[in-house]
């Protein structure tokens, strides 16, 4: 399968080809790739893509997976509706 058709980040539709292109451009941390390509910023907050991208960075840079820093886990972790936060009933 072509790398341009392999989706790495399902929230933001980022492909494996795009990830490899960014690593080649010199973005060799998850934090930098997140900020340029938005992977990790979607509703899943990187739960799927982070590990895959970390492995890609490790493979390209020769670093071990342990050396690759995972971005800060930002609250509220799982999506929560603004209405629920003010105590309104979930209408759906």
């Amino acid at each position: 399968m072509e790398n341009g058709k392999i989706i790495v980040c399902r929230c933001e539709d980022v492909t494996l080809a795009e990830i490899r292109q960014l690593i080649e451009e010199g973005f060799t941390s998850l934090d930098e790739i997140k900020r340029i390509a938005r992977c990790g910023m979607g509703p899943c907050q990187g739960k799927t893509c982070s590990q895959i991208i970390a492995r890609e960075i490790a493979a390209a840079t020769g670093k071990s997976l342990e050396e690759i820093q995972i971005p800060t886990n930002r609250p509220p972790i799982g999506g929560i509706k603004l209405g629920e936060l003010v105590g309104e009933e979930n209408e759906e």
């Binding site: 930098e32 900020r35 340029i36 509706k81 209408e91």
Partner: protein, 381 residues
């Protein structure tokens, strides 16, 4: 790493990258940017991404207007790899008191005299612009259709790419640990990766500018303060402009990407370097936004974060060479609106550093606080 540079810029935020690019554009060789983390990792990448021209002082209006012209043409000027995601669908500022309305009238008069196309709106007109706006207690507002949004990461990256193309070197994950002086003049910058000899240093360290100032023995009149933001899941386009209120203390905009970004300033926030997000913010933000823009209650929050405002006594930046330490330049204290004026700040600072005539009159020196010549900006969230 180079051991010698003509200028060392401390801080790889949008201001540092814009200054470095403009120095190189003016022909300065051997410009170096030192960044302790990665590009836009500090205040720039944590900001609300808004770009507005509706300010209350002439200088802020002119800096913002000239910067907007550059944002409008940035993809071509910097030959950016990725579109900077400029969106110009306006800023709608809301007034809840006669006093606030009077301030807007004054501001609009000033803005119009400088060519900024802002105008007053009635509550009914505000509702035409944002149909689901809750207009309870609303007296009126101000609207500038050419204000909007740009992507802070991509703008910073665009400046850095263009600067690199012109020969600027960037040392990321490199921390400045000291600035060496001899006989009152700067001789170099110490980093955790080695020493760089230089006679000119630009402090663009954002929330940490006062820490860099201490390295040359200056007690800079700025403090840092946490401001928090949250972002929702992306949804189909429903809101054109940024909606903002100073008295109700809120701003909220839908990004071109579809997510809503919103924040407010906590008046009781301590002055420190805390950038952790809080549960209290999430609740207060939800309460504010669901009252003002009710349909947003259906949107899920996916992430919240915080960043530092670097605040001056008059909430206008400090752009100058320090008289106490020649060769030490400041582009600091943006008080929450550095991103939107960074294009013009870069040009002016590069002109200042190269000894050229500035393309705009500036009165943002360090001495204004001692002289008591504060130029208070009334329109800050």
């Amino acid at each position: 790493m180079k051991n010698k540079a003509s200028v060392v810029v401390i801080g790889g935020g949008v201001v540092g990258c814009s200054i470095a690019y403009n120095l190189a554009r003016l022909g300065v060789k051997d410009v170096v940017v030192v960044e302790k983390n990665f590009l836009a990792s500090g205040s720039t990448g944590r900001c609300g991404a808004g770009v507005r021209q509706q300010w209350g002082t002439e200088m802020n209006c002119r800096l913002a207007k000239e910067s907007m012209k550059i944002f409008e043409n940035m993809n071509e000027i910097l030959k950016t790899k990725r579109d900077i995601e400029l969106k110009q669908e306006g800023y709608l500022l809301l007034a809840y008191s006669e006093r606030e309305m009077d301030q807007f009238k004054k501001n609009i008069e000033l803005q119009n005299s400088l060519g900024i196309p802002s105008h007053l709106v009635t509550p009914e007109e505000a509702k035409e612009i944002v149909p689901y706006l809750n207009t309870e207690n609303l007296i009126g507002g101000a609207f500038c259709p050419t204000d909007g949004h740009a992507n802070p990461f991509l703008v910073t990256q665009a400046y850095a790419d263009a600067a690199r193309y012109l020969g600027v070197e960037f040392y990321l994950r490199t921390e400045v640990t000291g600035i060496r002086q001899e006989k009152g003049r700067i001789v170099g910058v110490e980093t955790n990766r080695g020493f760089i000899a230089t006679e000119k240093v630009v402090n663009t360290a954002g929330g940490y500018s006062q820490v860099i100032g201490k390295m040359v023995g200056l007690d800079l009149p700025v403090y840092s303060e946490r401001h928090q933001i949250l972002v929702t899941e992306p949804v189909e386009k429903m809101q054109g402009p940024m909606v903002m209120s100073f008295s109700y203390n809120i701003y909220c905009q839908q990004n071109p990407h579809g997510s809503f970004i919103m924040g407010f300033g906590d008046p009781n926030e301590p002055r420190d370097f805390n950038i952790r997000s809080s549960w209290q913010f999430l609740e207060e933000m939800a309460r504010k936004v669901t009252w003002l823009l009710p349909p947003l209650k259906h949107l899920r929050v996916v992430r919240q974060w915080a960043g530092l405002y670097n605040v001056t006594p008059d909430r206008q930046p400090i752009l100058c060479e320090t008289p106490q330490v020649p060769g030490f330049y400041l582009a600091i204290g943006f008080s929450g609106h550095g991103f939107m004026i960074a294009p013009m700040v870069g040009i002016l600072m590069a002109e200042m550093i190269t000894g050229q005539k500035l393309s705009m009159d500036l009165e943002l020196d360090l001495g204004r606080f001692e002289r008591g010549e504060l130029i208070l900006e009334p329109s800050v969230v």
